[in-house]
Amino acid sequence: MPITTTRRRLLAGSVATLALPAFARAQGAVKPRLTAISQWSAGSDGAAITALGKKFEEKGGVWQHSPVPGFTTEMMNKLRAQIMAGDPPACSQLKGPEIAAWSKIAPTVDLDAVVAAAGYEKVVAPDLAKLHKPGGKWIALPLQIYSTNMLFLSKRAMDKAKADKIPVTWAEFNDLAEKMKSGGVAFPIANGGTRPDDGQKFEAALAGISPLAYRAAIMNLEKKALEGPEIKAAFAQVRKIADWMDPNVGAQHFSTNLKRFVDGDMGMMIMGGWAQGVLRNAGFKFEDFTIAPGPSDNSKPVFLLNADAFIFWQRKEPDLQAGQTLMAQLVMDPAIQTMYSQITGSIPVRTDVDLSGEGWSEGQRTTAAALKNAIASNQAVLSMAHNMAQENGMTAAMIDVITEYVKNKTIKPEQAATRLAEAVEGAR
């Protein structure tokens, strides 16, 4: 009986409001409260959001976070259920084009005033800002940025290959993998085999070969670009990467192999910046690995953008509304973004945060510099594998083709390219 519950709650809410002394209300003395859901329950992600909650409480708020562990889609199922029951959380994790899609099914909070007060718009990458104001108004706030195509190099594997130069292009990457193989590294590539993992290998390959083709084919779904030679070249590169991986990896998560990666049994990993947080959280040291931008054939960094964000759902309760304002202010705060990114290994959304100080790693500085350069050369594109470029349905249709290709070595790159174009048509 969702309707009754809402009414009863509304009633309780208004009674509570009336009961408050008038002067207290006038001064806005409602204790801010925030109901939030996210998928961040454990590891560095869990630690970061818990720290954010502590800050929220320090400001006098009541922090009610319900994590839904697993993939983002599992968090979305809870969100969907809550929205359909007329009881959305005050704030939930959501990102990319899903922000626009979901904002159509339930009313969201207009954040324009609080964003303007913080002068936030000036310090956010324009492509990113667009995703968070689908109807021209800010309804969601990005929290942290990752690149999904960072190149992680194992120090011990590099020693085995007697190599010290970080590969910049795919050709150099392939050379290094061969060197590692002949130098005794059992598997030059250390990735896992989940669906997003397979998707990342493809997007890293395509964007590294041609960011223009990536933008046209994957972000804009142009038919001509989808049938272009760059797609075939990207699939061919993905095959090489798959051949250098441990065939037993199956559908394992990338973190399963981190120890073998650090030990030098595996050499390189194309993974999001979050792997740094996971490596650090697992007790490995910065000396064990190097982080560099993913291979790019024109030698200028390509940045596959993935940004976590919070969307704010309309609530009538004054304490929740106060909580939403406080949360928005915190999320935009450079100090909070610094704290958050230092825990998870991401980089701040604000382009004006200085990363030269204590607490930032070389990898994060490299990532931030890569983002700056990529934006300057128009090579910052939105990640497909992590649902930034397209809505879930389209992304899943593409990853179906990619994941089958990665695991089925009898499919030719040309066939895969045709299937990708067909899958996009079918999912439109």
Partner: protein, 307 residues
């Protein structure tokens, strides 16, 4: 309703329907509730399958578009092929395993109760646990293959889990492990219910044990076999948790099954309309199994009534 009100000595006469009210309430209320649940949600799903619903259910009419989109998708086609292979292999092999176990247990052996519990035990384990345990056992880098390698036979290969052509068989193996005990229990009950006099008569006539099994016992197990097959088939069609834990549809999309596709469409791709269409197609497959069974039962009963 009844016009033959019962007369009770020493008390006012209560109409029959009042006296039987508790019985009616006990039977009809839960029955109607569950039927209403089942029917209303099935109808709801069928309705959704004709709407353009994506994130949440919406009204509107798209005709058969969701159905054609699902039927044309590679995921669904692979799922149907797999269902055919998995359904047949699993039903036949688990029934055969169950029958063999039942016959062996029927030899009046010592410790029968212990053995029966052991073989029935997997049924008490949830499919998620079964799937997870077998995913470790069958992982070439961790399980059986590694064990054999460590024992010295290094050329031994058993990597079905990561071989996209053989991966579906790993699900067959795990499913048989889980449910052949159930088939065994049914068959064992069937074996025990064969009239001992007939067997004695056959023995007196000089029939050996093989002949007794082939000519007398097995033919009388026919109805139980049908029951086992139908129960296992409807389990096979709705298999979800086992695959999700064991291969999650992988490697790639090689071990997709219809239930996995439904879940994927509804909850991972947020395409409720298409997911509902896939669910309705699954229901039709299930009916294709259950309706002939119901018809067969009906004719059996009619024949028995006429005989």
């Amino acid at each position: 309703m009844s016009n033959t009100a019962a007369i009770r000595p020493g008390g006012p006469a209560l109409p029959e329907w009042v006296r039987r009210l508790p019985e009616y309430l006990m039977i009809w209320v839960p029955l109607l509730l569950s039927a209403a649940h089942l029917v209303s949600f099935s109808l709801w799903t069928i309705w959704i399958s004709f709407t353009p619903s994506t994130l949440i259910p919406v009204t509107g009419w798209v005709g058969l578009r969701n159905y054609t989109a699902v039927a044309a998708s590679r995921n669904w086609q692979i799922a149907l092929d797999n269902l055919l292979l998995f359904g047949c292999a699993f039903v036949v092999l688990s029934a055969a395993t169950g029958l063999i176990l039942a016959i062996l247990l029927d030899q009046r052996i010592r410790g029968e109760n212990v053995l029966r519990s052991i073989f029935l035990y997997p049924l008490a384990v949830s499919f998620v646990v079964t799937g997870t345990v077998w995913s470790w056992l069958l992982n070439p880098g961790l399980g059986i293959q590694k064990l054999v390698h460590d024992l010295g036979w290094t050329s031994f290969r058993f990597d079905w889990l990561i071989d996209r052509d053989m991966a579906i068989w790993t699900i067959v193996i795990a499913a048989i492990w889980q449910s052949s005990g159930f088939a065994m229990a049914l068959f064992l009950a069937g074996l025990r219910s064969v009239d001992a006099d007939i067997i004695k008569a056959a023995q007196i006539d000089g029939a050996g044990p093989v002949r007794i099994y082939r000519r007398i016992i097995l033919p009388s197990l026919w109805p139980i076999t049908i029951t086992v097959v139908v129960i296992q088939l409807q389990f096979a069609i709705s298999t979800f948790d086992l695959v999700r834990a064991l291969t999650n549809g992988g490697p790639g999309i090689a071990t997709q099954l219809p239930a996995l596709v439904v879940y994927d469409l509804m909850f991972q791709r947020s395409l409720l309309g298409r997911g509902a269409a896939a669910a309705v197609l699954m229901l039709l497959i299930l009916l294709a199994v259950l309706l002939p069974y119901a018809a067969w039962r009906y004719f059996q009963r009619r024949r028995a009534a006429h005989a």
